[in-house]
Amino acid sequence: MKKDLLGIAELSSEEIYLILDTAEAMREIGQRPIKKVPTLRGKTVVNLFFEPSTRTRTSFEIAEKRLSADTLSIAVATSSVLKGETLVDTAMNIEAMSPDMIVVRHAASGACHLLSRICRSRIINAGDGMHEHPTQALLDAFTIREHKKRIDGLKVAIVGDLLHSRVLRSNVLLLTKLGAEVWVSGPRTLVPAGMERFGVRVSTSVEEAVADADVIMMLRIQQERMQGAFIPSLREYFTVFGMTAERVARAKPDAIIMHPGPMNRGVEIASEVADGPYSVILEQVANGVAVRMAVLYLLAGGQEGG
């Protein structure tokens, strides 16, 4: 492994499989009476979250504690960032207290790459702007592999707000690297230009995208990142792109439904689908802990080539 986990773009398919295989072993720890191993004893991990997050931050914290790391979380609402401190200054100050790893979420794409260049600590990207969210893509892959026993050759349809989604980018990079056939679908205004260059098929018809799919992955409509009029209304969006039971019926009978959360019920996904038998949304959350434990463990070792 390299020093940092900045994105799926920097990972080889061997490294991705190593993380997934390690996560298999890590998952068992969560089923023990004592859910803790001494592996990262004495390591300090700082969770630096410049954007709100429940799932990802909780998941990282649980993962860190299960590996016995000393961990603390800094939420921007209570930090000096509000007093005007820059990202670099905040990071350098934390760095001065010599943590071993810093888990970063930031609204600016590339924030983790910047920190990676100036910090000695290992940087784990927990989501940077509209760029990448590598641990989400890894836990999605873990969940898919658990259900389908493979990733290679599967048809995966990703539907929703493609433009603002870091989850999309990380998933597309990962799934195409491992040989899946990826379809993406959303309103024309929310499809980034040049999507095809990532090796995916683009369709503005959800029906076409989900036809015979093995996996349907929904993306949230990110209203907080929308400063213009991308969609006429949420109701119209649901009518044209919302994942309903009728649309799911076009996929393979054993297709699984995924969502990285937080869900907007009745906007991108109908409640009957979100809570349906083919939904693996809560499994994704459970698997997130094991995958993050694997990433923390693997990054804590030496770097490639000593």
Binding site: M1, L18, D21, T22, E24, A25, M26, E28, I29, R32, P33, I34, K36, V37, P38, T39, L40, G42, K43, L67, A294, Y297, L298, A300, G301, G302, E304, G306
Partner: protein, 176 residues
């Protein structure tokens, strides 16, 4: 040690285990835990032997990966982390007599890690250690309860255990 010798040694150990643990005539609180990699097939063979000898149910058998408990992890952070594989102990170890199984006993550090790992699964009544080969050079106060063979070695040598399940043949050899 050749295949025949290994087989006879394991049979002898199985008898010793029963002698020592069959006090009231039943061994229902026994369980085997093999340490990855080569302790696992040895534990499975012992489970089969115990069943052949006394009949009845199979002794519950689990698999332990001690990587996350190693005392040399993170100490010299060069090179990639050792691969972690699954621990599978599909039964409660509480109040059981656990037979911890490994192929070679050397410094004792693996066993130290395994004991720590086991305790995280519950509170066994007792833990007994079974090894196919004891090659000496202990660095920790650890002693095996059942030893297949004592092999005096020098630290520069290496003892290699090959098992059919992993390596395609049964053999113990000293190299170097």
């Amino acid at each position: 040690m050749d295949a025949d010798r290994i087989a006879r040694t394991l049979t002898r150990i199985a008898h010793e285990i029963l002698e020592r643990n069959a006090a009231p005539g039943d061994v229902h609180d026994l369980a085997l835990v093999g340490i990855r990699t080569r302790g696992v097939p040895i534990a499975k063979r012992l489970a089969q032997l115990l069943r052949d000898i006394r009949g009845g149910d199979e002794v519950p058998t689990g698999t332990l990966d001690i990587t996350l408990y190693r005392d040399d992890l993170m100490r010299h952070a060069v090179g990639p982390q050792p691969v972690v594989r699954k621990t599978e102990i599909p039964f409660s170890i509480d109040d059981k007599r656990i037979l911890l199984v490994d192929d070679v006993l050397y410094t004792g550090r693996t066993i130290r890690a395994a004991l720590d790992a086991l305790i995280d699964f519950g509170r066994p009544k007792a833990i007994q250690l079974v090894v196919l080969v004891d090659r000496g050079h202990r660095e920790l106060p650890i002693k095996a309860d059942y030893v297949g063979k004592n092999l005096p070695t020098s630290p520069s040598q290496s003892v290699q255990v090959h098992l059919v399940e992993v390596d395609g043949r049964d053999e113990v050899e000293i190299a170097g």
